[in-house]
């Protein structure tokens, strides 16, 4: 059992470019949850506040990516 669990961390996964892209989402969620847990006065406010922050981060990053892509398309 222990060997099986440790084996999980021995060698990494093979990710496609789409999977790499999608792995950004849980990382952003983790950042949003931790940040909002430090800021919210009541813990019950955290889920909604973290959700809103998560959408803002992901939306902002997509917007920046789209903007850079458009700029790159025009310039090159």
């Amino acid at each position: 059992m222990t060997t099986a669990i440790l084996g999980l961390f021995d060698s990494g996964m093979t990710l496609s470019s789409m999977q790499r892209f999608l792995f950004m989402l849980p990382l952003c969620l983790s950042i949003a949850v931790v940040y909002k847990t430090t800021r919210c006065e009541q813990l019950s406010d955290v889920p909604v506040a973290a959700g809103v922050l998560w959408v803002t981060i992901v939306g902002g990053m997509y917007a920046v990516g789209l903007g850079l892509w458009i700029l790159f398309s025009i310039a090159v």
Partner: protein
């Protein structure tokens, strides 16, 4: 008044140290049990997800990723466990001659980002614990809530 000040002087370093070793433990020590558990689960899950994606040998590597290792060190307990695993794999490779295959660079990149961000989030949590150590411990009220829980550190 002097007693209160002395209490803060003791609570501050202890909560910071506990929080540095185990994410959220500083908050649990200060009486913010719910907050501490959220930090413990979120940061630990983020860190070990990163290690599983990139592989422990390539992800927690102070030789080739020095700056990222410093970021990972902000969550000391997780990094110590992962580094012990890294060392044991290297020792096993030297003993048996069988090398663990290196992960794909893109996976290692994602893994390193996850573990590094987990460390930096824990740094934020440690500072939050230091801020909260100046306030009195929250008073538990009926219904499982906490009173006197400050929002801003």
């Amino acid at each position: 008044m002097a007693n209160e000040q002395q209490s803060t002087m003791v609570r501050m370093p202890i909560s910071a140290l506990l929080g540095w070793i185990v994410p959220g433990l500083g908050h649990i020590y200060l009486g913010h049990r719910g907050r501490g558990l959220v930090f413990l689960v979120t940061i630990t899950a983020t860190f070990w997800t990163g290690v599983a994606i990139g592989g422990v040998k390539a992800t927690v590597d102070p030789q080739t990723r020095k700056l990222w290792f410093f970021a990972q060190l902000c969550t000391a307990g997780n990094t110590a466990a992962a580094y012990a695993m890294h060392r044991s794999i290297v020792a096993r490779e030297a003993r048996t001659g069988v090398t663990v295959p290196k992960s794909f660079w893109a996976s290692v990149d994602v893994g390193v980002h996850y573990t590094g961000v987990a460390g930096l989030l824990n740094l934020l949590v440690v500072f939050d614990a230091i801020g909260r150590s100046e306030a009195p411990s929250p008073v538990r009220v009926r219904g499982g809530g906490q009173q006197g829980d400050r929002g801003d550190p």
